[in-house]
Amino acid sequence: MDQFDGKDIMEIMQEDLLRALKKPRKERRWAMAIDLKKCIGCHACTTGCMSENLTPPEIHYRPVKEEEIGEYPNTGMRFLPRPCFHCDSPTCTPVCPVTATYKRDDGLVVIDYKKCIGCRYCIVACPYGARSADSGHYFTGDFHDKTYEVENSGEYGGNFKRKSHWHSPIGNARKCHFCIHRVEKGELTRCTTTCLGNATFFGDINDPKALITKLISKPNVFRYKEELGTKPMVYYIT
């Protein structure tokens, strides 16, 4: 297990999370940091997320981009996991005509599954490709006889089962929500706990004592496509 200041990273983040949950919601600011030096491109976060949120085919809340860098003989691989960045100045929320997607006071950009009309304007508007359209595909085809395909994933603390195309989340836009249904129960996000290299950090950046706040204050930190002005809340450590 990795350590920070002699203490286990997961334990530190768990303490940070529980401390943040004691504050009023509007005083929290959830963010994520991903250490690219530690990411080994195992895709455990991708599959962990899929199993946590029971996402259907072609929908990945957290894909990992693999890039070959350099030229032979000086080549290497770079892995870039991309969850939703929960931007501070999102391009997706202003375009939703029915306010189904909005930024919460704790910084999360969420989708109200009961309001989303499935116009997909937010999917078009996202510059990171972080949103997906759930058209109703199943891994098991037309008869989707596997329970996990129609089971309630608990997203947003709700009871959304993919029973038919008349029931959300089918027909909706979907995306990473920082496992809000876990976080509000005091559990770290699935990708954070699944990460084999302990490369993912999650916490409240309004808390000066939080591990993530200390990590992102270093100069070797960048945000993806920061020039777009979206102010993403996912930081990459190089």
């Binding site: 072609e58 929908i59 990945h60 894909p63 990992v64 981009k65 693999e66 991309r82 391009t91 202003p94 375009v95 939703c96 005509p97 029915v98 306010t99 189904a100 009961k114 309001k115 989303c116 009309i117 499935g118 116009c119 997909r120 304007y121 999917i123 078009v124 508007a125 996202c126 510059p127 990171y128 490709g129 972080a130 949103r131 997906s132 359209a133 759930d134 058209s135 109703g136 595909h137 199943y138 037309d142 038919s164 195309h165 959300s168 089918i170 027909g171 909706n172 496509k225 777009l228």
Partner: protein, 385 residues
Amino acid sequence: MKLFGVLIPEKEQLIGTVGDVIKGKAGLSLYASIFGLLIGLYAIGSIFIRGHAHTINTSSLVPWGLQISTYVYFALLSTGCTFVNFFGHVFFEKQYKPFASRIVFVGIITAVAAFFSLTTEMGHLERMYYFLLSPNPKSPMFWMAIWYTCYLIIITWEYVNIQTNRHSNRVMWAAFFIAVFTHSTLGSLLGSVSSRVYYYSALMPIYFLFIAFLTGCSLTTIIAAMTVKQKKLDENYHLHPFVTLLKVGLGLALLITFWRMMIGLSAHLEGSEVFSLTLINSVLFGIVVVIVIPYILLKIGQSANWLIFVGLFIMGTQLKARNDLVVGAFKIPVFRVYDMPEVIHYTPSIYENLVVVASASLVAMLYIVFERSGVFEARNIKEEH
């Protein structure tokens, strides 16, 4: 105010038309449009019953496809009819008068047909009431809905005025400006999306207005040419305004298409390589086929039959051009992972194509039924008396 026989056909006429259809005397065009509408309704029903996964080829990578481009196409047709109605009344009053009610009516039914296509695209149509319950005034789509509602009301009012011989210049001007606001808002829906370089442009609302004018001119030219033939009017006198407006429309379309292409090619933003990728299509199809060839065709002849052909040519090529516009923004994925290709290809499914057929057939069928019933002549008969 009398409804039957003035705004809509007389009951006897409608019953007679149904009787003609059953007896096989309705004419090929009406049968073709009824058949197209039936198979289109089958496709729409399949989409609603079976769901998008089994019927539609849009995806997270291509969220907007043929249904959105068809909606845009019919919305532009409707706007164009309103523009032609305005310019026809203002600049060519006497020559335009026999066609006014027909053109405004087609403006209404094309606006309705646009929604045929849009309804099949939505993931949850039954939640549209949230437009009223939790509207987002920052969203261009919200404003598009507001303006579209105003637009439908005003052009219906214009139609009622024309049919009841109470044509009002104020309503006509209002219809014109509301059409401008509505369809420039539709253009801004694309133009304000900064994440898609193919859309993002201050030119987009103006592009939509200019293309609407051209597309509307082509449809109204067809209507005018068919009416001239049917009523044996003076072709040169009555069709000259439409030829003029078509040429202006082609000029405006050339201007805006050229500059949009040039500005896109000069961009150094991420994703702007899509303009280079689509350059050959933009030049050969978007300019030569869609604009230059129709202009040459107009120079060749201006008889009623030839103008019907030119109008259909422009309308057909504009439908493909709309699809190229809407889908073009998704050719380059914004975040390429796994086995995503470098260039995304999209082919509409048979159901999506049949939705287009449904929309076009609806317009054709309603127009033919109203034309057969003589409801457009009711105004002229009143004038003579």
